[in-house]
């Protein structure tokens, strides 16, 4: 019996039991749809995390004031400011460090014409943009000269630019920060969300000196809020961390046994933790969905076993007129496979639709790849073969007389 004929027989048998076929298929459909949806959500989470990490800049170390003894930040934001411009410059000279970016921050009201917008204002040096690997989309970034003279120039993040200017081109326009006029130098490329979920594009940047002298009115001149340092390569990250700790202890005159009044955080390690968490989550989602596929598979086995028993006489007749074991095995295996493949196709469609609905209804990112669909599909077929095989073999192992005598 050729394959086409076997497929024909299988399809005919499935058609004869439409309701049962549909119900069995439903198990498969739900399983496959769940797998596709969960994989898509998991992959989406991973993508979000990866984007946040790559938007951070590469080989970054963060230095914040305050110790982190007993796991908690003792000196929270607004506490003693122990880091200085001098610290930043000294760290920049360490052999493992490529550049540092001292940073001061605050929140301020911005105005352009009738529009106003409250956002974070960050004072940085030109190196900041290099360290963050952040370029201007239009206009230009400010320079060392601007830093030295404390020019009133501002670089806008995408979101802030949109909110103040709408469709207008902000470059060359003047906005007011805390009522002082600032010339818009340019607009940055979009960065998206940071690891902690902030929108990095809702921010503006001014020269550090301008911020210190004219905007924030610093009570401790020369101190900074925190700093970023970029190591020369991924390999020297640990070395850089050690060197920075040693240098800062020395500069802050901390004697043996005294606690650090600063904390160096290795962003690569942080990123690794976040990536790991996202990966674990997506694996878990996939595993949970697989369970429903498995349940669907057991449903198929159940139905096929019933079908074998119910059709014992038919099997006997087929054997009496010349069907060999392979033909019987093939017929029942194909019935299981057809259920799985059809169910798999519908399930994939449903899963993709579900993922699309999720992305519309929530701000979750979902990612569907061809590999994911292929995986769900392959898994469904494997389940079909695996759970279809036992009943099919049972059918084909029947002895013709016994099958014929079955009532």
């Amino acid at each position: 019996m050729n394959l086409l004929a076997v497929v024909g027989e299988a399809l005919r048998a499935l058609r004869l039991n439409r309701l049962r076929t549909a119900l069995t298929m439903l198990g498969m459909i739900i399983g496959v749809a769940a797998v596709v949806l969960m994989l898509a959500v998991g992959q989406g989470a991973q993508t979000t995390v990866n984007q946040a990490i790559s938007s951070m800049g590469s080989n970054l170390l963060l230095v914040v004031p305050g110790a982190t003894s007993s796991g908690a930040l003792r000196s929270a934001a607004g506490g003693v400011q122990t880091l200085t411009m001098g610290d930043a410059q000294a760290i920049a000279h360490l052999p493992s460090i490529k550049a540092t970016a001292p940073i001061i921050t605050g929140t301020a009201q911005l105005n352009y014409g009738a529009n106003n917008w409250s956002t974070s204002v960050t004072g940085v040096t030109p190196d900041y943009f290099a360290v963050r690997d952040w370029a201007a989309e239009s206009g230009a970034l400010f320079t060392e000269a601007d830093l030295r003279s404390g020019t009133r120039v501002v670089i806008l993040g995408q979101v802030t630019a949109k909110n103040l200017f709408g469709e207008e081109d902000p470059t060359g326009k003047t906005i007011r920060i805390k009522n002082s006029p600032f010339l818009v130098g340019g607009v940055l490329t979009p960065k998206g969300q940071s690891l902690d979920g902030r929108d990095q594009d809702d921010a503006v940047f001014i020269p550090l000196t301008t911020g210190q002298r004219q905007v924030f009115g610093n009570q401790f001149p020369g101190t900074i809020r925190f700093m970023m340092a970029q190591a020369r390569s991924a390999e020297v990250m640990d070395e850089a961390e050690t060197e920075m700790n040693r240098l800062l202890r020395q500069r802050h005159r901390l004697s043996e046994g005294m606690e650090n009044d600063f904390t160096v955080r290795n962003m690569a390690a942080l990123a690794a933790v976040a990536t790991g968490a996202a990966k674990v989550m997506s694996i878990m989602l996939g595993a949970i969905a697989s369970v429903s596929l498995l349940v669907g598979g057991i449903g198929i086995m159940n139905i096929m076993l019933v079908s074998v028993t119910e059709r014992t006489r038919e099997i006997g007749i087929r054997m009496a007129i010349g069907a060999n074991r392979r033909a019987i095995l093939g017929q029942f295996l194909l019935e299981a496979l057809v259920i799985c493949i059809l169910g798999g196709l519908i399930g994939v469609a449903l899963g993709v639709a579900g993922a699309w609905a999720v992305s519309l209804a929530t701000d979750m990112v979902v990612v569907i790849t061809l590999g994911m669909i292929a995986l769900a599909f392959a898994f469904a077929s494997a389940v079909g073969i695996f759970f279809g095989f036992y009943p099919a073999r049972k059918a084909s192992a029947l002895r013709p007389v016994e099958a014929l005598r079955y009532e």
Binding site: N2, L4, L16
Partner: protein
């Protein structure tokens, strides 16, 4: 007409030697409790090509058991069965399936057509198992139904046919691969006298005009009268075997 009991090996389509069949019954209860019941006792039967044989006997005498062995649906517990010179015991499952497909047409008392399948597809199915394409199978099945005057029922399902019509479709199915042997276990058992006569006429025609060997089981003397040879079974033994009184 060839002799009733040929001895030349090549003349025999069926050669049964000392065949016994013992069923072991698992009586419910203990695993060790099984009862053997012997249904056939050292049966010897030789049937030459082209013969028309009737097997008779009381209910439970082992007729169906013998027919199932002849039809390669079952195997003897002891003894040998040569079909067309081949020792059946030496054949694999696949080879047995091939023999059933190509060389033996089985007709049952209860027709045993495949439900919810048209008469045409029922007749065509053995061809599918023989590896013939579906289109060709259908074509040949239709031609056969046409010859037997059943073509107007081609699209009917068994449940839409009378008993006589179903049995004629079943005979077509048995014939589709041109087997040299037709085995019929009480083919007229479920049919009225008139229809039984029509069915017997078909078997007689197949035997006379196409030289097909026909072995059938019956309870009725007037059915047995159509045949050339009568084998009588009693309690699993052949007690009578001679030419039918015509």
């Amino acid at each position: 007409m060839p002799s009733l009991h040929p001895t030349a090996f090549e003349d025999c389509l069926i050669r049964v030697e000392n065949v016994s069949k013992i069923y072991s019954l698992d009586t419910s209860g203990g695993a060790s409790a099984s009862v053997n019941s012997q249904v056939l006792f050292d049966v010897n039967l030789v049937i030459p090509r082209g013969q028309f044989v009737a097997i008779m006997g009381h209910s439970g005498s082992g007729k169906s058991t013998l027919m199932n062995i002849l039809g390669c649906l079952d195997t003897p517990t002891r003894g040998h069965y040569w079909f067309d010179g081949r020792d059946i015991a030496a054949l694999s499952d696949d080879e047995l399936a091939r023999v059933r497909n190509h060389n033996i047409g089985f007709v049952f008392q209860g027709f045993n057509l495949l439900k919810r399948m048209t008469a045409l597809d029922n007749v065509a199915t053995p061809l599918l198992y023989a590896g013939v394409s579906r289109a060709e199978s259908r074509k040949r099945a239709l031609a056969l139904l046409d010859q037997t005057g059943l073509v107007k029922f081609a699209a009917y399902q068994p449940s839409q046919l009378s008993g006589g019509q179903q049995q004629r479709v079943a005979i077509c199915r048995a014939l589709i691969n041109n087997p040299p042997l037709i085995l019929a276990d009480e083919p007229t058992g479920n049919l009225d006298t008139q229809t039984s006569r029509e069915i017997m006429a078909i078997f007689q025609m197949l035997n006379r005009e196409q030289g097909i060997t026909v072995v059938l089981v019956t309870h009725e003397d007037d059915i047995a009268a159509y045949t050339q040879r009568l084998v009588r079974l009693k309690d699993g033994r052949i007690v009578h075997d001679e030419a039918t009184a015509q």
